[in-house]
Symmetry: C2
DNA sequence: CAGTATCCTTTACGATACTG
DNA sequence: CAGTATCGTAAAGGATACTG
């Protein structure tokens, strides 16, 4: 398998795979990627679509992903200003895998719920 | 797209997709799944393979994944005791997608590093 | 509307010591 | 060797208020 393990924390932070993955696999990043699949969204719309995320946290994640080149930020000076975020080609690449995982998770929810009950019950 | 968004925190916690995904997409869970791909490992060996994880955190994650049915825990009473962990068929299912993501991340490391420098520089 | 700043809580994690 | 318990720290996140 690929090298994703490390012996120290410093080594882990330098792991190339982890560095790239962390920008799309996190709880919020993944939701952002999926939310932008069908096209650009303005900040407010994106926040509304995601629902349970605060403005501050959404901004943080958007900036990190912009920095890594996963999405672009386009400003239309208004007034009022309109800022929209869109996935770059690079940002679209993991989409297929993330969707596959999401689909798998959806299909396995019943099984997992059953396993949890069985584990907790006795 | 599938429904992975939520309007409240409670709604998010009940999201079937998020519930299942959280057991394999977390930083540690993903490393555990990948580490067990080639077969069962004893606790100590698994800890050594992963390197930068503490005993406590590894135990926590193993228990959560065992609860969800992603892996089994087999005890061979010694002495000394030997406890080995192995993926279940359910636990193997996400492997293909996780490996695809890992492979993608490895291939894009250079691009992302470049993007970061460009973003930070000016 | 988009963005920043501040404060506070919670969660994840690390380190270490102890037990069968 | 595997597992538990305790304590402390650091990171993530939530709430809210304020600005152009």
């Amino acid at each position: 398998m690929l090298q994703v393990t490390a012996r120290t924390k410093e080594e882990a932070e330098m792991c190339p795979v982890r560095q790239v993955l962390s920008q799309v696999m996190g709880k919020w990043q993944m939701l952002i990627v999926l939310s932008l699949e069908d096209g650009a969204l303005r900040f407010g719309a994106l926040k509304r679509v995601m629902g349970d995320i605060t403005q501050r946290v959404l901004m943080e994640n958007l900036r990190k992903m912009e920095r890594d080149g996963h999405l672009t930020c386009t400003v239309d000076p208004g007034p009022p200003v309109a800022v929209s975020y869109a996935l770059t080609p690079l940002g679209r690449e993991p989409l297929v895998h993330l969707k596959a995982l999401t689909l798998w998770a959806a299909g396995r929810h019943a099984a997992v719920t059953g396993n949890r009950s069985r584990y907790d019950a006795p």
